[in-house]
Amino acid sequence: MAGNVVGAGLIVEGEFTTDEEVVIEGTVRGTLTTAESLSIGSDGVVEADLRALSVVLAGQVTGNVTANSRVDIQAGGRLIGDVKAGRLTIADGASFRGNVDMDV
């Protein structure tokens, strides 16, 4: 089980810092930093700058995303913001507006 779960209906506002995995099915506003992977489920809504080892995005994110390894935007996922990551995938059906920095 994931270390952190922001379940549907829950709203976290402010600065969220952790060393564990994070799963978001609810709402997060502010900043979120994790040393592990971050998953934003299809009902997840994030208005925050995100930093994580890796990010899987199936919900809605407004904010900049920084990942040490990779970012995957899945079908149905929606990202408005810049991505800084070594690897990025954008699935067919995902929407994305922002800049990409792949450290080249």
Partner: protein, 207 residues
């Protein structure tokens, strides 16, 4: 039981957490937590802020008021500095509490309980000043409005309830003991009040 949301043991949230569903906190929250469902704090959890929820089980540390619409339970590892309000309150041996305990009501929030407070305030207005001074003497904290209203209703509105709480809640016990004489012989409590406060303080120190 599985909680819908979990804040992990290494996590720190500086800000508020609110919304629907149940939540388990194992890490640290510096802000208010208000949810509609059950709330649980693990033994290493720390919350600096108010807690509200349906059934609240506290195994960690809380600095702030705790309001449960169903129940508040402090386990043997729980520590609370703040007021406890819920229809049912439980405390295990080893739990540390500093604040007033009110086992009554079922309103979502103690602050929005105007209807309930007028209803229980009516019968004996004579007792109110004494109860208020007792409240301030023994606690020295909490807002004036809530303190007096809560004590006023505790004294006569819900005797079975608070008596029940007294069985396992030392803080409620002292409050109850202080109030008992005031109920039999109405006027003197102005003098009694500071003494009751000192007694409560002494008890607190012994713990």
């Amino acid at each position: 039981m599985a909680y819908a949301s979990v804040i992990g043991s290494s996590s720190v949230i500086r800000g508020n957490v609110r919304g629907e569903g149940s939540l388990e906190i194992l890490g640290r929250v510096e802000g208010d937590v208000g949810i509609s469902g059950d709330l649980s704090l693990g033994p290493d959890a720390v919350v600096v802020g108010t807690l509200s929820g349906a059934r609240i089980v506290i195994g960690g540390s809380v600095q702030g008021d705790v309001t449960g619409t169903e129940a508040v339970v402090i386990t043997e590892t729980g520590r609370v500095v703040g007021d406890l309000t819920a229809p049912r309150i439980g405390m295990s041996e080893g739990a540390l509490v500093r604040g007033s305990v009110r086992s009554e009501g079922g309103a979502p929030s103690a602050r929005s309980s105007s209807a309930r407070s007028t209803e229980v305030r009516a019968p004996a207005p004579i007792e109110r000043p004494a109860l208020r001074s007792e409240g301030r003497g023994s606690e020295g904290r909490g807002s004036e409005g809530r303190g007096s209203e809560g004590r006023g209703s505790d004294g006569r509105g819900s005797v079975p309830n608070s008596a029940q709480a007294a069985n396992f809640a030392p803080a409620a016990n002292s409050a109850q003991a202080a109030k008992a004489p005031a109920k039999k012989a109405p006027p003197p409590p102005v003098i009694q009040a500071p003494r009751a406060g000192a007694r409560a303080r002494k008890r607190m120190l012994k713990r």
